[in-house]
Point group: C2
Chain length 203, copies 2
Amino acid sequence: MSDPIRTRRGPYAKSAERRQQIVEQAYRAFATRGYHGSSLREIAAASGISLSTLQHHFATKEELLITVLTRRDQQGHGTVSGQEGLPFREHILAQAAANEGVPGLIALYSILSAEAVTPEHPGHVYFAERYDALREEYEAEFAALRAQGRLRPGVEPALAATTVVALWEGVQLQWLYAPDRVDAGAALRAYLELVIVPQRDEP
Amino acid sequence: MSDPIRTRRGPYAKSAERRQQIVEQAYRAFATRGYHGSSLREIAAASGISLSTLQHHFATKEELLITVLTRRDQQGHGTVSGQEGLPFREHILAQAAANEGVPGLIALYSILSAEAVTPEHPGHVYFAERYDALREEYEAEFAALRAQGRLRPGVEPALAATTVVALWEGVQLQWLYAPDRVDAGAALRAYLELVIVPQRDEP
DNA sequence: GTCTATATCGGGATAGAC
DNA sequence: GTCTATCCCGATATAGAC
Protein backbone atom coordinates (compact mmCIF):
# COMPACT_ATOMS: atom_id res chain seq x y z
CA MET A 1 0.00 0.00 0.00
CA SER A 2 1.72 3.20 -1.12
CA ASP A 3 1.05 6.35 0.84
CA PRO A 4 0.66 9.45 -1.34
CA ILE A 5 1.24 11.76 1.59
CA ARG A 6 4.12 9.91 3.20
CA THR A 7 6.15 13.09 3.57
CA ARG A 8 3.84 14.20 6.38
CA ARG A 9 3.72 12.81 9.83
CA GLY A 10 0.14 11.78 9.23
CA PRO A 11 -2.84 12.41 7.05
CA TYR A 12 -4.29 15.91 7.41
CA ALA A 13 -1.35 16.85 9.62
CA LYS A 14 -0.68 20.03 7.72
CA SER A 15 -4.32 20.96 7.65
CA ALA A 16 -4.67 20.58 11.38
CA GLU A 17 -1.61 22.71 11.92
CA ARG A 18 -2.86 25.42 9.58
CA ARG A 19 -6.25 25.41 11.19
CA GLN A 20 -4.70 25.90 14.56
CA GLN A 21 -2.68 28.88 13.33
CA ILE A 22 -5.78 30.43 11.85
CA VAL A 23 -7.83 29.86 14.98
CA GLU A 24 -5.11 31.48 17.05
CA GLN A 25 -5.09 34.62 14.92
CA ALA A 26 -8.85 34.71 14.66
CA TYR A 27 -8.97 34.54 18.43
CA ARG A 28 -6.72 37.59 18.69
CA ALA A 29 -8.79 39.52 16.19
CA PHE A 30 -12.17 38.68 17.70
CA ALA A 31 -10.85 39.43 21.17
CA THR A 32 -9.85 42.96 20.24
CA ARG A 33 -12.32 44.09 17.61
CA GLY A 34 -15.20 41.69 18.01
CA TYR A 35 -16.82 39.64 15.27
CA HIS A 36 -18.21 42.43 13.10
CA GLY A 37 -15.11 44.53 13.59
CA SER A 38 -12.75 41.80 12.41
CA SER A 39 -12.17 40.77 8.82
CA LEU A 40 -11.09 37.49 7.30
CA ARG A 41 -8.45 39.37 5.32
CA GLU A 42 -6.84 40.65 8.46
CA ILE A 43 -6.90 37.21 10.05
CA ALA A 44 -5.45 35.63 6.94
CA ALA A 45 -2.67 38.23 6.80
CA ALA A 46 -1.84 37.69 10.46
CA SER A 47 -1.68 33.96 9.76
CA GLY A 48 0.69 34.53 6.87
CA ILE A 49 -1.64 33.06 4.28
CA SER A 50 -3.99 34.34 1.65
CA LEU A 51 -7.67 34.93 2.14
CA SER A 52 -8.52 32.02 -0.12
CA THR A 53 -6.38 29.63 1.87
CA LEU A 54 -8.12 30.64 5.02
CA GLN A 55 -11.43 30.05 3.35
CA HIS A 56 -10.25 26.67 2.20
CA HIS A 57 -9.97 25.66 5.85
CA PHE A 58 -12.99 27.53 7.15
CA ALA A 59 -15.78 27.90 4.65
CA THR A 60 -17.46 30.80 6.43
CA LYS A 61 -16.63 33.43 8.97
CA GLU A 62 -19.29 32.01 11.23
CA GLU A 63 -17.68 28.59 11.21
CA LEU A 64 -14.41 30.20 12.25
CA LEU A 65 -16.06 31.98 15.15
CA ILE A 66 -17.68 28.84 16.47
CA THR A 67 -14.39 27.01 16.22
CA VAL A 68 -12.61 29.74 18.18
CA LEU A 69 -15.21 29.68 20.92
CA THR A 70 -15.35 25.93 21.41
CA ARG A 71 -11.60 25.54 21.10
CA ARG A 72 -10.99 28.12 23.80
CA ASP A 73 -13.60 26.47 25.97
CA GLN A 74 -11.68 23.22 26.04
CA GLN A 75 -8.37 24.93 26.77
CA GLY A 76 -9.94 27.06 29.48
CA HIS A 77 -11.37 24.11 31.32
CA GLY A 78 -8.05 22.35 31.13
CA THR A 79 -6.21 25.11 32.93
CA VAL A 80 -7.49 24.50 36.41
CA SER A 81 -8.85 21.00 36.00
CA GLY A 82 -5.74 19.55 37.54
CA GLN A 83 -6.93 20.81 40.90
CA GLU A 84 -10.22 18.99 41.12
CA GLY A 85 -10.22 18.80 44.89
CA LEU A 86 -10.30 22.56 45.40
CA PRO A 87 -13.28 23.92 47.27
CA PHE A 88 -15.67 26.10 45.32
CA ARG A 89 -14.33 29.46 46.42
CA GLU A 90 -10.73 28.65 45.68
CA HIS A 91 -11.72 27.00 42.44
CA ILE A 92 -13.39 30.14 41.15
CA LEU A 93 -10.55 32.37 42.27
CA ALA A 94 -8.00 30.06 40.68
CA GLN A 95 -9.96 30.09 37.46
CA ALA A 96 -10.17 33.87 37.52
CA ALA A 97 -6.46 34.19 38.15
CA ALA A 98 -5.70 31.71 35.38
CA ASN A 99 -7.90 33.62 32.95
CA GLU A 100 -6.06 36.84 33.64
CA GLY A 101 -2.88 35.06 32.64
CA VAL A 102 -4.19 34.15 29.20
CA PRO A 103 -3.90 37.31 27.11
CA GLY A 104 -7.10 38.23 25.37
CA LEU A 105 -9.21 35.47 26.85
CA ILE A 106 -11.20 37.81 29.04
CA ALA A 107 -11.60 40.30 26.24
CA LEU A 108 -12.81 37.56 23.92
CA TYR A 109 -15.68 36.56 26.14
CA SER A 110 -16.52 40.08 27.29
CA ILE A 111 -16.66 41.56 23.82
CA LEU A 112 -18.36 38.69 22.07
CA SER A 113 -20.93 37.96 24.74
CA ALA A 114 -22.13 41.55 24.52
CA GLU A 115 -21.99 41.67 20.74
CA ALA A 116 -23.94 38.41 20.54
CA VAL A 117 -26.91 39.69 22.52
CA THR A 118 -28.91 40.07 19.34
CA PRO A 119 -30.35 36.68 18.29
CA GLU A 120 -29.07 37.04 14.73
CA HIS A 121 -25.47 37.04 15.89
CA PRO A 122 -23.72 33.76 15.01
CA GLY A 123 -22.49 33.43 18.57
CA HIS A 124 -25.83 34.06 20.25
CA VAL A 125 -26.80 30.47 20.97
CA TYR A 126 -23.34 29.67 22.25
CA PHE A 127 -23.41 32.42 24.86
CA ALA A 128 -27.00 31.84 25.84
CA GLU A 129 -26.17 28.23 26.61
CA ARG A 130 -22.92 29.21 28.30
CA TYR A 131 -24.69 31.52 30.73
CA ASP A 132 -27.27 28.88 31.50
CA ALA A 133 -24.62 26.29 32.15
CA LEU A 134 -22.56 28.58 34.35
CA ARG A 135 -25.56 29.59 36.43
CA GLU A 136 -26.60 25.99 36.87
CA GLU A 137 -23.13 24.90 37.85
CA TYR A 138 -22.66 27.64 40.41
CA GLU A 139 -26.14 27.28 41.78
CA ALA A 140 -25.40 23.63 42.51
CA GLU A 141 -22.19 24.63 44.25
CA PHE A 142 -23.95 27.20 46.40
CA ALA A 143 -26.72 24.75 47.18
CA ALA A 144 -24.13 22.23 48.34
CA LEU A 145 -22.55 24.86 50.55
CA ARG A 146 -25.90 25.68 52.06
CA ALA A 147 -26.50 22.00 52.78
CA GLN A 148 -23.26 22.09 54.75
CA GLY A 149 -24.43 25.15 56.60
CA ARG A 150 -21.66 27.18 55.05
CA LEU A 151 -23.83 29.70 53.23
CA ARG A 152 -24.71 32.90 55.00
CA PRO A 153 -28.40 32.84 55.99
CA GLY A 154 -30.66 34.59 53.55
CA VAL A 155 -28.44 33.95 50.54
CA GLU A 156 -30.28 32.27 47.71
CA PRO A 157 -28.15 29.83 45.68
CA ALA A 158 -29.79 30.78 42.39
CA LEU A 159 -29.36 34.48 42.98
CA ALA A 160 -25.82 34.03 44.23
CA ALA A 161 -24.98 32.06 41.10
CA THR A 162 -26.29 34.82 38.86
CA THR A 163 -24.38 37.32 40.94
CA VAL A 164 -21.07 35.53 40.69
CA VAL A 165 -21.35 35.21 36.92
CA ALA A 166 -22.37 38.85 36.59
CA LEU A 167 -19.72 40.11 38.93
CA TRP A 168 -17.06 38.12 37.18
CA GLU A 169 -17.93 39.41 33.74
CA GLY A 170 -18.55 42.95 34.84
CA VAL A 171 -15.36 43.33 36.80
CA GLN A 172 -13.36 41.89 33.93
CA LEU A 173 -14.81 44.48 31.60
CA GLN A 174 -13.78 47.29 33.91
CA TRP A 175 -10.39 45.66 34.22
CA LEU A 176 -10.01 45.86 30.45
CA TYR A 177 -10.58 49.60 30.58
CA ALA A 178 -8.39 50.26 33.62
CA PRO A 179 -6.16 47.29 34.49
CA ASP A 180 -4.25 49.33 37.06
CA ARG A 181 -7.31 50.56 38.92
CA VAL A 182 -9.44 47.42 38.98
CA ASP A 183 -8.58 44.18 40.72
CA ALA A 184 -10.91 41.52 39.40
CA GLY A 185 -9.72 38.81 41.73
CA ALA A 186 -10.10 40.98 44.80
CA ALA A 187 -13.68 41.88 43.94
CA LEU A 188 -14.59 38.28 43.36
CA ARG A 189 -12.88 37.17 46.55
CA ALA A 190 -14.55 39.86 48.64
CA TYR A 191 -17.99 38.81 47.46
CA LEU A 192 -17.39 35.12 48.06
CA GLU A 193 -16.05 35.80 51.54
CA LEU A 194 -19.12 37.84 52.23
CA VAL A 195 -21.42 35.03 51.20
CA ILE A 196 -19.64 31.87 52.23
CA VAL A 197 -19.17 31.13 55.91
CA PRO A 198 -15.58 30.01 56.64
CA GLN A 199 -14.98 26.46 57.72
CA ARG A 200 -14.01 25.74 61.29
CA ASP A 201 -10.36 25.11 60.51
CA GLU A 202 -10.12 28.20 58.34
CA PRO A 203 -9.17 31.63 59.64
CA MET B 1 -36.07 92.95 9.38
CA SER B 2 -37.63 90.21 7.26
CA ASP B 3 -37.38 86.63 8.41
CA PRO B 4 -36.65 84.20 5.59
CA ILE B 5 -37.71 81.21 7.67
CA ARG B 6 -40.81 82.68 9.24
CA THR B 7 -42.88 79.60 8.41
CA ARG B 8 -41.09 77.70 11.17
CA ARG B 9 -41.58 78.14 14.83
CA GLY B 10 -37.97 79.15 15.16
CA PRO B 11 -34.66 79.03 13.42
CA TYR B 12 -33.23 75.53 13.07
CA ALA B 13 -36.48 74.11 14.44
CA LYS B 14 -36.75 71.57 11.67
CA SER B 15 -33.13 70.61 11.96
CA ALA B 16 -33.42 69.98 15.68
CA GLU B 17 -36.48 67.84 15.10
CA ARG B 18 -34.79 65.83 12.37
CA ARG B 19 -31.71 65.34 14.46
CA GLN B 20 -33.80 63.99 17.28
CA GLN B 21 -35.50 61.50 14.98
CA ILE B 22 -32.17 60.32 13.68
CA VAL B 23 -30.67 60.00 17.15
CA GLU B 24 -33.65 57.93 18.22
CA GLN B 25 -33.24 55.47 15.36
CA ALA B 26 -29.49 55.37 15.71
CA TYR B 27 -30.00 54.54 19.35
CA ARG B 28 -32.18 51.57 18.42
CA ALA B 29 -29.66 50.33 15.87
CA PHE B 30 -26.60 50.67 18.09
CA ALA B 31 -28.48 49.06 20.96
CA THR B 32 -29.22 45.93 18.97
CA ARG B 33 -26.34 45.50 16.57
CA GLY B 34 -23.61 47.64 18.07
CA TYR B 35 -21.60 50.30 16.29
CA HIS B 36 -19.81 48.17 13.72
CA GLY B 37 -22.90 46.09 13.11
CA SER B 38 -25.09 49.07 12.31
CA SER B 39 -25.07 51.05 9.08
CA LEU B 40 -25.96 54.64 8.36
CA ARG B 41 -28.15 53.47 5.51
CA GLU B 42 -30.25 51.38 7.85
CA ILE B 43 -30.56 54.23 10.34
CA ALA B 44 -31.51 56.62 7.57
CA ALA B 45 -34.14 54.23 6.27
CA ALA B 46 -35.61 53.77 9.74
CA SER B 47 -35.74 57.55 10.07
CA GLY B 48 -37.58 57.84 6.79
CA ILE B 49 -34.89 59.91 5.13
CA SER B 50 -32.12 59.34 2.67
CA LEU B 51 -28.56 58.56 3.58
CA SER B 52 -27.42 61.95 2.36
CA THR B 53 -29.90 63.76 4.53
CA LEU B 54 -28.68 61.90 7.55
CA GLN B 55 -25.14 62.85 6.66
CA HIS B 56 -26.20 66.43 6.30
CA HIS B 57 -27.14 66.44 9.97
CA PHE B 58 -24.32 64.22 11.20
CA ALA B 59 -21.15 64.48 9.21
CA THR B 60 -19.71 61.17 10.38
CA LYS B 61 -20.90 57.97 11.95
CA GLU B 62 -18.69 58.67 14.91
CA GLU B 63 -20.36 62.02 15.53
CA LEU B 64 -23.70 60.27 15.53
CA LEU B 65 -22.53 57.73 18.10
CA ILE B 66 -21.22 60.38 20.46
CA THR B 67 -24.47 62.27 20.16
CA VAL B 68 -26.48 59.16 21.00
CA LEU B 69 -24.37 58.43 24.06
CA THR B 70 -24.40 61.91 25.54
CA ARG B 71 -28.06 62.46 24.73
CA ARG B 72 -29.04 59.27 26.52
CA ASP B 73 -26.87 60.22 29.44
CA GLN B 74 -28.85 63.37 30.06
CA GLN B 75 -32.18 61.60 29.77
CA GLY B 76 -31.05 58.80 32.03
CA HIS B 77 -29.98 61.14 34.78
CA GLY B 78 -33.24 62.98 34.54
CA THR B 79 -35.32 59.91 35.20
CA VAL B 80 -34.64 59.55 38.88
CA SER B 81 -33.29 62.99 39.64
CA GLY B 82 -36.65 64.06 40.98
CA GLN B 83 -36.01 61.92 44.05
CA GLU B 84 -32.83 63.51 45.25
CA GLY B 85 -33.44 62.71 48.89
CA LEU B 86 -33.37 58.96 48.40
CA PRO B 87 -30.71 57.06 50.30
CA PHE B 88 -27.99 55.42 48.26
CA ARG B 89 -29.43 51.94 48.21
CA GLU B 90 -32.87 52.99 47.12
CA HIS B 91 -31.41 55.42 44.63
CA ILE B 92 -29.46 52.69 42.85
CA LEU B 93 -32.40 50.31 42.87
CA ALA B 94 -34.71 53.01 41.55
CA GLN B 95 -32.24 53.79 38.79
CA ALA B 96 -31.96 50.13 37.89
CA ALA B 97 -35.71 49.74 37.79
CA ALA B 98 -36.05 52.87 35.69
CA ASN B 99 -33.45 51.62 33.25
CA GLU B 100 -35.31 48.38 32.74
CA GLY B 101 -38.32 50.44 31.75
CA VAL B 102 -36.48 52.18 28.93
CA PRO B 103 -36.37 49.71 26.05
CA GLY B 104 -32.92 49.20 24.70
CA LEU B 105 -31.12 51.41 27.16
CA ILE B 106 -29.48 48.53 28.95
CA ALA B 107 -28.57 46.88 25.69
CA LEU B 108 -27.05 50.09 24.41
CA TYR B 109 -24.60 50.41 27.26
CA SER B 110 -23.89 46.70 27.56
CA ILE B 111 -23.16 46.19 23.89
CA LEU B 112 -21.25 49.38 23.27
CA SER B 113 -19.17 49.31 26.43
CA ALA B 114 -17.86 45.89 25.46
CA GLU B 115 -17.39 46.79 21.82
CA ALA B 116 -15.51 49.94 22.81
CA VAL B 117 -12.87 48.11 24.84
CA THR B 118 -10.36 48.54 22.05
CA PRO B 119 -8.85 52.05 22.19
CA GLU B 120 -9.52 52.68 18.50
CA HIS B 121 -13.26 52.46 19.01
CA PRO B 122 -14.91 55.88 18.77
CA GLY B 123 -16.72 55.29 22.03
CA HIS B 124 -13.69 54.16 24.00
CA VAL B 125 -12.94 57.41 25.79
CA TYR B 126 -16.57 57.92 26.66
CA PHE B 127 -16.88 54.58 28.41
CA ALA B 128 -13.50 54.79 30.10
CA GLU B 129 -14.53 58.09 31.64
CA ARG B 130 -17.98 56.78 32.45
CA TYR B 131 -16.60 53.86 34.44
CA ASP B 132 -14.23 56.15 36.29
CA ALA B 133 -17.01 58.54 37.16
CA LEU B 134 -19.35 55.78 38.30
CA ARG B 135 -16.72 54.19 40.50
CA GLU B 136 -15.83 57.52 42.05
CA GLU B 137 -19.44 58.40 42.70
CA TYR B 138 -20.25 55.08 44.33
CA GLU B 139 -17.05 55.01 46.30
CA ALA B 140 -17.98 58.34 47.83
CA GLU B 141 -21.41 56.98 48.71
CA PHE B 142 -19.97 53.90 50.36
CA ALA B 143 -17.42 56.01 52.20
CA ALA B 144 -20.21 58.17 53.54
CA LEU B 145 -22.08 55.08 54.69
CA ARG B 146 -19.01 53.83 56.45
CA ALA B 147 -18.61 57.17 58.21
CA GLN B 148 -22.12 56.63 59.53
CA GLY B 149 -21.23 53.16 60.67
CA ARG B 150 -23.65 51.68 58.20
CA LEU B 151 -21.16 49.70 56.15
CA ARG B 152 -20.50 46.11 57.15
CA PRO B 153 -17.04 45.83 58.70
CA GLY B 154 -14.36 44.73 56.28
CA VAL B 155 -16.08 46.18 53.24
CA GLU B 156 -13.83 48.52 51.29
CA PRO B 157 -15.66 51.46 49.67
CA ALA B 158 -13.49 51.38 46.55
CA LEU B 159 -13.93 47.66 46.05
CA ALA B 160 -17.63 47.84 46.78
CA ALA B 161 -17.99 50.59 44.19
CA THR B 162 -16.27 48.48 41.55
CA THR B 163 -18.44 45.57 42.57
CA VAL B 164 -21.70 47.46 42.25
CA VAL B 165 -20.82 48.74 38.80
CA ALA B 166 -19.67 45.30 37.69
CA LEU B 167 -22.65 43.53 39.14
CA TRP B 168 -25.03 45.97 37.57
CA GLU B 169 -23.58 45.62 34.11
CA GLY B 170 -23.07 41.90 34.32
CA VAL B 171 -26.52 41.08 35.55
CA GLN B 172 -28.06 43.26 32.88
CA LEU B 173 -26.18 41.36 30.22
CA GLN B 174 -27.52 38.06 31.51
CA TRP B 175 -30.95 39.61 31.67
CA LEU B 176 -30.71 40.44 27.97
CA TYR B 177 -30.07 36.77 27.21
CA ALA B 178 -32.72 35.39 29.56
CA PRO B 179 -35.14 38.07 30.80
CA ASP B 180 -37.39 35.46 32.39
CA ARG B 181 -34.66 33.72 34.34
CA VAL B 182 -32.62 36.69 35.58
CA ASP B 183 -33.84 39.37 37.95
CA ALA B 184 -31.38 42.24 37.77
CA GLY B 185 -33.01 44.26 40.52
CA ALA B 186 -33.07 41.34 42.93
CA ALA B 187 -29.38 40.62 42.45
CA LEU B 188 -28.47 44.25 43.00
CA ARG B 189 -30.70 44.50 46.05
CA ALA B 190 -29.34 41.34 47.59
CA TYR B 191 -25.78 42.58 47.31
CA LEU B 192 -26.55 45.98 48.76
CA GLU B 193 -28.43 44.45 51.67
CA LEU B 194 -25.46 42.22 52.29
CA VAL B 195 -23.08 45.14 52.43
CA ILE B 196 -25.08 47.96 53.95
CA VAL B 197 -26.16 47.71 57.56
CA PRO B 198 -29.84 48.67 57.98
CA GLN B 199 -30.66 51.85 59.85
CA ARG B 200 -32.19 51.62 63.29
CA ASP B 201 -35.70 52.51 62.15
CA GLU B 202 -35.52 50.09 59.23
CA PRO B 203 -36.56 46.43 59.43
C1' DG C 1 -3.18 23.24 -0.25
C1' DT C 2 -2.27 27.38 -1.90
C1' DC C 3 -2.55 30.89 -4.81
C1' DT C 4 -4.39 34.99 -8.15
C1' DA C 5 -8.24 36.92 -10.00
C1' DT C 6 -12.75 38.20 -9.80
C1' DA C 7 -17.61 38.47 -8.58
C1' DT C 8 -20.83 40.65 -5.73
C1' DC C 9 -22.26 43.09 -2.24
C1' DG C 10 -22.63 46.76 1.29
C1' DG C 11 -20.13 50.13 3.77
C1' DG C 12 -19.13 55.49 4.50
C1' DA C 13 -18.43 59.64 2.21
C1' DT C 14 -18.97 63.24 -1.66
C1' DA C 15 -20.86 66.14 -5.59
C1' DG C 16 -24.18 68.68 -7.13
C1' DA C 17 -29.15 69.49 -8.64
C1' DC C 18 -33.42 71.17 -6.76
C1' DG D 1 -32.84 70.47 3.70
C1' DT D 2 -33.36 66.96 0.91
C1' DC D 3 -32.58 64.29 -2.73
C1' DT D 4 -30.20 61.10 -6.67
C1' DA D 5 -26.14 59.56 -8.35
C1' DT D 6 -21.68 58.19 -7.73
C1' DC D 7 -17.09 57.27 -5.83
C1' DC D 8 -14.15 54.40 -3.49
C1' DC D 9 -13.24 51.17 -0.43
C1' DG D 10 -13.30 46.80 1.98
C1' DA D 11 -16.09 43.00 3.03
C1' DT D 12 -17.25 37.78 2.06
C1' DA D 13 -17.36 34.47 -1.23
C1' DT D 14 -16.29 31.88 -5.62
C1' DA D 15 -13.67 30.10 -9.84
C1' DG D 16 -10.07 28.05 -11.47
C1' DA D 17 -4.86 27.61 -12.33
C1' DC D 18 -0.84 25.42 -10.28
